[in-house]
């Protein structure tokens, strides 16, 4: 074995460029170098746009459409990938190196059974017979703790849960025993409790199979659980690199320090509300058209000038509650009140004033903003609709709104496509504020954003609340966000409320078992957090699925 072969991957001075709409090439990875030993896990961390996914794909000799590997060398097992021809790369991909994408639901082909997609790799590369491949796949299902490994793969991707699909994709990556697996944010799209199961399964399988990995994430706490070494990236350049433990304990660079101690926004303590509730849901029950009940006897109270956080995992019904309150989904039983007066079930029956007082901000600013309208038009629309403002008066108001959300005035002529994710979400906030609302429903508004950007948004919301006495109904699965912003908390599980209370009271014991599960599932900035957690759960519970051991939710 020559010296070059000793490394699974050696990237030197990598440059990747992307083409903009004018056809100009811009660097998105600017001179990054890294090395990976056999069996080693290297974490790549940074906010979106840092170039971590691009590096991960480049490690497989791949560049997305509109991108090109412009310089540097990528040597995998002594073989140069930069400039290698397509057939050469095709023979290596899937076999010597494999990829696990962020969204398994999107990366699995909806038209084929899981088994066939996993076995495709070794069979089409001529490495195994169909029977051998199937046997190997089943062995990996077992290793990744998938339920019913004998029959799991006969299903179609849409028939299994997101967490299971993510583990199936890991099996797909491992089936040819590659030297290197690139994990691109494999747990980001999952609920915290599912994230732990997937993270633990991936880590165990990686150790068992002895493969090297590039583990890409924007969540430093998650990366620290699996990576031996961590590289921090920003704007396509290396910020710092080192052993995971050292990066967490003694970050050398200011940017890394910021990532390690995200200075959490913190809502000031408020006195117990004495006024009657401003927004109220009483014993609300709701279903979608298919007859599946998504809300059962849910009651909440939101008091003026406070923030009520609704916490729960996907499928808990928290977003449905928002749809019910805003009139998008008529409820079946119960009632909703605004300032003590009943609200109509349907949006169309509500008065303009009721619509104005209750505004909503969505999770995905990309989808919530019309890509063909300028910021001026987006913010001008509610000003005209609610207050009949036009022309110069409207423009002054738009500029004032931008100032309120800490954006420069000269954004008025920009289109959403020309703004960053954080700026877009600020425009969405400004649009809600344009109606001069009393209550704003925030549906997962920070979960698509990088931690530092999300923190900026939370601080902004708190400042506005402080200045204008707004009330927020804050829907989220992220307990760190809840800790930062909430005054009162409601925990939802499968369409019911399992625990409620003031923040201080709810975040300290005794907890409802589900609340405890959620709280303990939030990754901590400690390389041994996952080990300790898994050990503790091993002791406290013999049931394999934590959620299954929950007692029936309280009536």
């Amino acid at each position: 074995m020559t010296a070059a072969d000793a490394k699974v991957l050696r990237i030197a001075d990598l440059h990747v460029e992307a083409q903009d709409s004018q056809g100009q090439w811009h660097g998105i990875v600017k001179g990054v170098s890294l090395e990976l030993d056999r069996g080693e896990v290297l974490g790549l961390i940074g906010e979106s746009g840092a170039g971590k996914s691009t590096i991960g794909l480049a490690a497989m000799g791949y560049a997305r459409g509109g991108c090109r590997i412009a310089g540097g060398s990528i040597v995998a097992n002594g073989q140069e990938l930069a400039g290698a021809d397509r057939d050469e790369l095709r023979r290596l991909r899937g076999v010597r190196m494999a990829y696990v994408a962020q969204s398994a639901a999107a990366a699995f082909n909806p038209a084929h059974r899981i088994d066939r997609q996993i076995c495709e790799v070794p069979v089409s590369h001529g490495l195994m017979s169909a029977e051998q491949a199937l046997a190997t796949a089943k062995r990996l299902y077992r290793r990744l703790r998938l339920p019913d490994p004998e029959h799991f793969g006969r299903r179609f991707p849409h028939q299994v849960s997101g967490g299971q699909l993510q583990r199936a994709m890991t099996a797909m990556a491992m089936i040819c025993k590659p030297d290197l697996i690139v994990f691109d944010e494999p747990t980001t799209a999952l609920d915290v409790t599912t994230q732990i199961e997937v993270l633990a399964a991936i880590r165990e399988a990686m150790r068992g199979e002895g493969m090297a990995a590039l583990y890409i994430s924007h969540d430093l706490a998650v990366v620290a659980q699996v990576a031996d070494r961590i590289m921090v990236l920003r704007h396509g350049k290396l910020v710092e690199a080192g052993p995971a433990e050292r990066i967490l304990r003694e970050p050398a660079e200011p940017y890394t320090r910021e990532l390690v101690n995200v200075r959490r926004a913190m809502a000031p303590e408020k006195p117990e509300p004495a006024t009657p509730p401003q927004l109220e849901a009483r014993h609300v029950t709701a279903s979608y058209g298919n007859g599946i009940r998504v809300l059962r006897d849910v009651s909440i109270e939101l008091h003026r000038g406070t923030t009520l956080a609704i916490v729960g995992e996907s499928g808990s019904g928290k977003s449905t509650l928002a749809r019910v309150l805003t009139g998008l989904l008529p409820w079946e039983a119960g009632e909703c009140l605004l300032d003590g007066r009943p609200l109509a079930k349907r949006l169309k029956r509500r008065s303009k004033s009721e619509l104005r007082r209750l505004q909503m901000i969505y999770q995905m600013p990309d989808i919530a903003l019309n890509p063909r309208q300028t910021v001026r038009e987006i913010l001008g629309r509610p000003l005209e609709f609610y207050f009949g403002q036009r022309g110069a008066e409207q423009l002054r108001k738009v500029e004032g709104l931008l100032e309120m959300v800490e954006l420069p005035r000269d954004l008025v002529r920009r289109l959403p496509g020309e703004l960053s994710g954080g700026q877009k979400q600020r425009v969405c906030i400004a649009r809600a504020l344009a109606a001069e609302p009393e209550i704003v429903i925030c549906d997962e508004i920070t979960s698509a954003l990088d931690p530092l950007v999300a923190d900026g948004i939370l601080k902004l919301l708190l400042r506005i609340q402080n200045e204008s006495g707004l009330s927020y109904l804050f829907i989220t699965h992220d307990l760190a966000t809840v800790k930062a912003i909430a005054d009162e908390i409601v925990v939802m599980y499968r369409g019911e409320i399992v625990q409620r209370g003031a923040k201080r009271q709810l975040l300290s014991p005794p907890w409802h078992p589900y609340t405890e599960l959620l709280l303990s599932s939030v990754p901590e900035m400690d390389v041994r957090w996952l080990d300790r957690l898994l050990a503790a759960r091993e002791v406290s519970s013999t049931a394999p699925e934590p959620a299954a051991s929950l007692p029936a939710p309280r009536p």
């Binding site: 909806p110 038209a111 590369h125």
Partner: protein, 318 residues
């Protein structure tokens, strides 16, 4: 599976309703035609009285809604009525013509559909290459010319100049299949050129659209070959729009061939209908209209059902 069955039943019911509405439209449409068969048969010299007698004889003096219900009632019993001019049952007039039309349309479909999908896949696989551009430009050129023009050009080249093929396609029922096929080569080629571009471009667009999805990137990162990516990963997910366009063009092959039939003097349903509009033989016209509408509705229903079945989420519910 239950959901799929319900969907199909729902679609069938809608199809029946559509046909009922169409029958009404056809009846009203033929009512609006100026003049009637009595005037057409007896000519200009007829007296008011003889015309009225003939009307009474043919039942034309009854109010329109009664005649519609009578017509609908016998339709439901499988009786298309009797021709007013020849006195023969309409079904006997239409059946051989329909057979001819289906023969021409079926042969054209057997050539055009595989060719269009194949060309579309090749164009998608080599997107942006000279091959892609050649396919797109030539099929577009073919669709841009009116079909009678394409037909006459083909006749001019292959029948008049080269003398390889006959210029007329006068089928008779007694001909052996081989002779029939030779006769319809030119009309078949004309129809193929007319429908090719639409199906080919939709195949290309649908496959290219799917090619930008994450699972196709994943297939590339799994080391799948380009042909495998197109055939196994992209095509099954692009089927729904392709099916819709293919069936739309099949329907066009059957109901839209009047011009081609006229150019090649082909004895199909389209010609029969045009002839009998001139003669005001309403039962024949109405029956032809119903055959066309029925074909169209049936094919569209099949398209909807097939596109639904192409979706694994509906075939295999959770």
């Amino acid at each position: 599976m239950n959901g799929v069955v319900r969907l199909i039943l729902h679609r069938l019911a809608l199809g029946a309703l559509t046909l009922l509405a169409v029958s009404l439209v056809i009846f009203v449409g033929t009512e609006i035609l100026p003049g009637d068969v009595a005037e057409a048969v007896l000519g200009q010299g007829a007296t008011e009285e003889t015309v009225n007698n003939l009307r009474k004889l043919l039942g034309l003096d009854l109010p329109a809604h009664i005649r519609y219900l009578q017509w609908l009632g016998s339709l439901l019993q499988g009786d298309l009525g009797t021709s007013l001019t020849t006195g023969k049952p309409v079904i006997e007039m239409i059946a051989p013509r329909l057979e001819n039309t289906l023969f021409l349309a079926g042969t054209a479909a057997l050539v055009a559909v595989p060719l269009a999908i194949g060309l579309g896949l090749v164009a998608a696989r080599f997107q942006g290459s000279w091959l892609d551009k050649t396919i797109s430009i030539s099929t577009l050129a073919a669709i841009s010319m009116p079909e009678f023009f394409v037909g006459y050009i083909l006749i001019f080249v292959f029948a008049v100049k080269l003398r390889w093929l006959p210029s007329l396609a006068k089928l008779s029922p007694s001909m052996p299949l081989g002779d029939k096929l030779v006769l319809i080569i030119l009309p078949c080629a004309t129809l193929t050129l007319v429908v090719l571009a639409h199906m080919m471009r939709m195949t290309r667009a649908a496959v290219i659209n799917v090619m930008s999805s994450p699972y196709v990137e994943m297939a590339e990162l799994k080391g799948a070959t380009a042909s495998r990516i197109v055939m196994w990963h992209a095509l099954p997910n692009a089927l729904a729009p392709i099916i819709t366009v293919v069936v739309l063009n099949l329907a066009y092959l059957i109901v839209g061939v009047v011009v081609v039939e006229v150019v090649f003097v082909y004895p199909g349903v389209g010609q029969l209908m045009v002839d009998n509009v001139a003669k005001r033989d309403l039962p024949v016209v109405q029956a032809c209209g119903l055959v066309f509408a029925g074909t169209y509705t049936l094919l569209n229903m099949i398209a909807d059902i097939l596109s639904t079945l192409a979706n694994p989420r509906l075939r295999h519910p959770k």
